[in-house]
């Protein structure tokens, strides 16, 4: 049922889209510019900035570390978050709402504060190496996403299906792994990708927790930008955009968010 929209609304929509996309288009275009500084419009076309990425060791190792940290933190967040959400939605825990708020609380605190607090307490305080603290920070960043999105999915998952499984002879643990997990795997993957993108692109927390021994991609880009203003940064950004885009596309393909969105829409209407 598609209604015909007013032309003004359509125009407004396109304007907003333009506003959102224009900076990105600029980045893409400038990454191909042949001049030594980022300028627009570009004078000549070249791919040398893309080649230059590989000659910057900070970008290469930064990418690898960021990737590793993002994967580890997202994975941990799902491993810790999933049972928590299951308990919150299924076990009739007292004060479930309160717990929910606690799990979501990292979103309420400015990320830069989380970064600083972790640095102060774990790195300075008990002298932990940077890597585990960094992963902890990104883990904290990811947990609220897991809680939020998975709660929506599990509330939508009919509990009588689990009851049918128990009565069929599967214990609660078996039911969790053989019935619940297979049915929410799409959502889990979508959540993983979401957490990954967030963690991979994160600056506020990362800023406090990197150092000479530990280079992360976003901070490497920042550092590079302070000393050079050439289109290499644009080229790196384009690659990051492509990677993020690819993941979003994958997530759509998995259909993992459809349920969640449906649930949120229903909630909004009630």
């Amino acid at each position: 049922m598609r209604q015909k929209k007013h032309w003004l609304l359509t125009l407004y929509g396109y304007l907003m889209l333009l506003l959102l996309l224009l900076p990105l288009v600029l980045v893409v275009v400038t990454s191909f510019g042949s001049q030594a500084a980022i300028t627009f419009p570009i004078k000549g076309f070249t791919l040398k900035w893309y080649a230059n990425i590989l000659s910057q060791p900070d970008f290469v190792t930064g990418f690898k570390t960021s990737f590793a940290v993002a994967v580890t933190a997202s994975f941990l967040a799902i491993v810790v978050g999933t049972p928590a959400v299951y308990a919150l939605t299924r076990c009739g825990i007292h004060h479930a709402n309160w717990f929910q708020t606690v799990f979501l609380s990292p979103t309420l605190i400015p990320e830069i504060v989380i970064g600083f607090a972790l640095f102060q307490s774990l790195v300075i305080g008990i002298k932990l190496p940077l890597m585990p603290v960094l992963i902890t920070g990104h883990f904290l960043l990811s947990v609220p996403y897991v809680i939020r999105m998975l709660t929506a999915r599990l509330l939508l998952f009919d509990q009588t299906i689990e009851e049918a499984s128990w009565l069929s002879g599967a214990s609660k643990i078996k039911t969790f792994f053989r019935v619940v997990i297979p049915n929410i795997s799409g959502t889990l993957l979508a959540i993983f990708i979401m957490c990954f993108i967030n963690s991979f692109n994160n600056i506020p927390i990362t800023l406090f927790l990197n150092g000479p021994s530990l280079t992360m991609l976003p901070t490497a880009i920042l550092n590079y930008l302070q000393n050079n203003y050439d289109p290499t940064v644009s080229a790196v950004s384009v690659i990051l955009m492509l990677l993020t885009g690819l993941m979003m596309w994958l997530m759509e393909r998995m259909n993992g968010l459809t349920h969640v969105n449906e649930h949120l829409n229903q909630k909004g209407q009630n």
Partner: protein
């Protein structure tokens, strides 16, 4: 032989609200018993406690005289058919039906043979490879039934299994459930709010209301001899008269009206009742004092399809509802009602 007994079952929530009060009944081996009652009467809670999905506050559930209160749901060897089917969305029809056998550690070839058997019994063979979402409601419920039967349960529990289906499907699936239950000799407990459904399918009916049992009897007895006012109302008695008994044990007095019952009873009686279709409606205004006859004026008339529903205002017994195939009576007509003495039912409470 009693396959399952429920003894002094009570259940209340933490806030003190009592959901079940002293429920006692048993189901014999191979019998289909239904629990009939309005929503909120505790019938589903009773079923869920028997299945082990909920805990009772006191009392116990026993299978073959053995208490099973400490046995978790997944070890009770019961199966349940849910109102909303509750099939495993990620599994095919075959895998759904095979699920319970797999949990019991049965070998692959044995599972394939047994599943094929039950799928052909429930006429689902052609759908074996479909996912549940590709099936209609009726087909999904047949899969659910097959999944419940395949494990040869000690007790088959059915929780309003037909309530989500349209009428034609409800009737055919009802017959199918009964046919399979009898063919396989399965002991079953069927929960429903639909009187016709419960009467048609079961050997015995348990009528529940407000967390307690009102009557346990065969459908015929419940229909003809409701034990309480609640049961009478629930199964279609619409005319109730508060009475006091006269010296002779079959004469009752309601206000100034004398009513006579065909059979004598020794139990205390507070109320008589009669179904609308059992009252005779005549135009002849005999003034003779025929037994159980009274005059009235028609004050409402509704077409019900097979019959007309007349509401007749009487002097001493208030408004009386009468169902008649006669279309000729009009609003305001003076009529004579006869309450056949053998159709009046005495109620003790």
């Amino acid at each position: 032989m009693q396959a399952m007994q429920v003894k002094h079952l009570s259940m209340s929530y933490e806030n003190g609200k009592e959901v079940l009060t002293d429920i006692n009944f048993s189901v014999n081996a191979g019998e289909l018993v239904s629990i009939l009652g309005p929503s909120g009467c505790g019938k589903t809670t009773t079923l869920r406690i028997i299945a082990g999905l909920q805990r009772q506050t006191s009392g116990n559930v026993a299978i073959d005289e053995q208490s099973i209160d400490s046995v978790p749901a997944f070890k009770r060897n019961m199966s349940m058919v849910f109102q909303n089917y509750a099939l495993f969305p990620h599994l095919s029809v075959f895998e759904n039906v095979a699920f319970g056998l797999k949990q019991r550690g049965i070998g692959k070839t044995a599972i394939r043979k047994r599943v094929a058997e039950i799928l052909s019994l429930t006429e689902l063979t052609d759908l074996a490879n479909h996912r549940p979402h590709a099936l209609s409601g009726g087909q999904q419920q047949r899969v659910s039934l097959a999944r419940a039967l395949v494990v040869n349960p000690t007790l088959l529990l059915l929780d309003e299994p037909l309530s989500n289906l349209d009428r034609a499907l409800r009737l055919s699936l009802r017959e199918e459930i009964r046919r399979l239950q009898q063919k396989l000799g399965i002991t079953a407990l069927f929960v429903t709010h639909d009187q016709e459904e419960s009467f048609a399918i079961s050997d015995r009916v348990i009528v529940m209301n407000g967390g307690h049992i009102e009557q346990i009897a065969s459908a015929q007895i419940v229909y003809a001899h409701p034990a309480t006012t609640f049961v009478a109302k629930f199964i279609g008695f619409e005319n109730f008269f508060n009475v006091t008994r006269q010296e002779t044990s079959n004469e009752y007095l309601s206000g100034e009206t004398h009513l006579y019952m065909a059979e004598k009873t020794t139990k205390p009686v507070v109320r008589l009742c009669i179904r609308p279709e059992n009252i005779r409606l005549d135009t002849s205004m005999d003034t003779d004092t025929q037994q159980n006859s009274l005059n009235g004026i028609i004050c409402d008339k509704t077409y019900l399809g097979r019959t007309y529903r007349y509401v007749v205002a009487t002097d001493h017994l208030g408004q009386i509802k009468v169902d008649s195939e006669e279309a000729t009576h009009q609003l305001g007509d003076a009529v004579r009602l006869t309450l056949p003495s053998d159709k009046l039912i005495a109620l003790a409470e």
